[in-house]
Symmetry: C2
Subunit: 227 residues, 2 copies
Amino acid sequence: METRVLEIRKGILNKNDEIARGLRERLHACGLLTVNLVSSPGSGKTAFLQRTLRTLRKGGKAAAALVGDLATDNDAKRLAEAGVPVRQITTDGRCHLEAQMVADHLAGWDLGALEYLFIENVGNLVCPSSYDLGEDVRVVLLSVTEGEDKPLKYPTIFNSADVAVITKMDLAEACEFDLEAAQRNIQAVRPGMRVLTVSSKNGAGMGEWLAYLAGERAARVEGTTRS
Amino acid sequence: METRVLEIRKGILNKNDEIARGLRERLHACGLLTVNLVSSPGSGKTAFLQRTLRTLRKGGKAAAALVGDLATDNDAKRLAEAGVPVRQITTDGRCHLEAQMVADHLAGWDLGALEYLFIENVGNLVCPSSYDLGEDVRVVLLSVTEGEDKPLKYPTIFNSADVAVITKMDLAEACEFDLEAAQRNIQAVRPGMRVLTVSSKNGAGMGEWLAYLAGERAARVEGTTRS
């Protein structure tokens, strides 16, 4: 019985992968860099995204966001304050987003006018690792309050992500956070992984993060499309 | 296809429920109160459990712990420092514990000599809500660093838990944690839910937590068995 479930799940994954592949091509053709943010509940995804969207907007960059949650549209409301297009995806208790949910929620948006699409996944450090959403960059967030050992304990998501962002650096001292140990654990799971440190509260590290995004967009999207 | 998956999952759940029911009877017959701890990764389950085990041991109470993780036995090592029987359950990437995993890891322990069994679930605020582990008490932990809105965004786990424990209260001020808002959100999802506040660092609230456990054991286990 267990085997059958695994087989059917694999079927769903392959279907999801197909949809994700088509979605990625479509988003690239529109000139969009798509970023999937994954973390535990409470790691500060929404605050980080809020600050990212506000800063991009001030810099004249066009971005939009989709935000996944089991219930409520609290996060969409928070993000909409940044003055960019935002939509909530409510999963009705499901533990991850899938590519079709993303595709369904893009309807009516002028994608050609956007440069960045952010997808805030459901707060879950396990299940979202198995679902490609058509993103170019998968970001795993880890807050200083969660402890340095999370990469070792949740290796799959760290393995499948492109970059790690350590959030809430303003609380690092109060939490006795050991950045070197966190770095060591990330590198043990994923050698060579790029790690950024940020504080959404005081803005530290946001410049490097935005430069990273611009670099990724230049490398992955511009030139291949309208540029 | 989706429907078939759901049906088969329901089959697995029912099988799990059956195993959990048998396990609960067996543990009661041994005079054990069983406690299932569920939270996000990094909410402080292990530190809380460490302090709980140490304090019970000092008070002459016999306890043991099982600890679930996708990978590593770091938590079992940390908990073993409390000087009580501890075993790691490694789920190989699965996002929750199931009753059979618990049953399999009790082999060889003298259950009749124990009063409390703690099960630290995989760090995940979504999937563990669907799996009864044979516990008497399901505890959902929420750290002050995660934000006050988590009960609204993860209602299933708060609905299925018996008690909520707010952890890392020593960081409440640094995080500008609003306890009243958290309480309000918990009560909105689960009216009447008991909420305890603790700091595993300075020990605040541990007395009330241990009194709660003793009360639950008296009500649910003693009298029905060896007492």
